[in-house]
Amino acid sequence: MTALSALLARDLRLAVRVGGGALIGVLFFLIVVTLVPFAIGPDLALLARIGPAILWLGALLASLLALDRLLAMDQEDGSLDLILTARVPLELAVAAKALAHWLTTGVPLIIAAPLLGLLLNLDPKATAAVALTLLAGTPALTFTGLIGAALTVALRRGGLLLVILVLPLTVPVLIFGVAASNAAIIGPVPFGTPFSILCALTLISLVIGPLAAAIALRQGLD
């Protein structure tokens, strides 16, 4: 087993075992989606119209809040120092951690989205569009959040600062995610246009995220 796959397996096992990460994110997603109809009233037509936006906002907030667990836990017990001094390139190591984080935090959100779409009176076409855009966009949220997590890893109560730092960088993902969902439902723009840009944003974050996070970790922990 190579070092990277061992790191990935370790993170997957930890996230599932410790019991917090995956399900707390989905729970927060559920709470946000439940709160919105309380705030704006039960008008089903209105909820169906802004449903994709509510789902995307809930997924974004749940992703951001779960970012705390990405690097901070390893920094606390010293595993991060071992990862820093290992022979595996640091960029690949943090990319593996981010991948594990997305698999255990992002994918449950994608699976929960269709169920929550029922609460918002979304029809199957809208639900499918939202799920597909979430699938394409949540990796961007995780890998961009990786940068913020690396910058604030040594801070003890850096949770909210992490969200503040990452939020402006995730705004394009949110914009194009909702644009793609709405394009599939109402048009007039073809679905492919914003969806391609969303995929491009994810691909860019897959490169820039680990690079910037590795630089931040090297600078921040010595």
């Binding site: 604030t152 600062l161 402006p168 910037a212 630089i215 600078q219 921040g220």
Partner: protein, 244 residues
Amino acid sequence: MSLIELANPSRFLALTGRALPWLLAATVLAFAFGISQIYFAPDDYQQGATVKIMFIHVPAAWLGVFAWVLMSVAALGTLVWRHPLADVAAKAAAPIGAAFTLMCLVTGSLWGRPMWGTYWVWDARLTSVLVLFLMYLGVIALWRTIDDPAQAARAAAVLTLVGAINIPIIKFSVDWWNTLHQPASVLRLGGSTIHPAILDPLIVMAVAFTLLFLTLHLAAMRNEIMRRRVRTLMMLQAGARVRP
């Protein structure tokens, strides 16, 4: 006088101490000249005298963006060239850039109400400048949260470079998207499209604002250097108290 000779903080303090009064005088003169130019500039045939908000709004926008570019260069100075005063420059520039960006947003909003009928619209230019303002606040928060100035400098440098992607987005947002904000009329291929009667006061005000930025920035850098010296002295004093 090369950049590396200025790297000595004491040298820098001495030089800027001598230069700042002159810079301040130049700033005041430039503003006086600029305001007189504004007074004699003609009214717009459509907007009337309201067009003169442009003489504050546009330079403030230019400087808000310029400050982030300066911070990005300083970030490279910290991470790549290890220039000793690069992080001081970055830390000093952040609140000034944030203030200019806020001024741009507020004056633009006040200008939009009579002209567009709304204080705010979520078009590409306004949204990207608002995101820039949020990123300024994020960098300032990061500076203040990490205790050790050197470590804070490196973290802020990485964040500044990552956020620099927003700068071309701001500049080209009016070309790439259909925006309510007007397209580029000064810095564009094919030359400016503004009449010299309005363009000249605009350039004068831009120079005045730039001198203001320079003055404030150098003064803030001096303050930051002295703040760090005070911090070191306090730490030494605390250490001396512990040891008998």
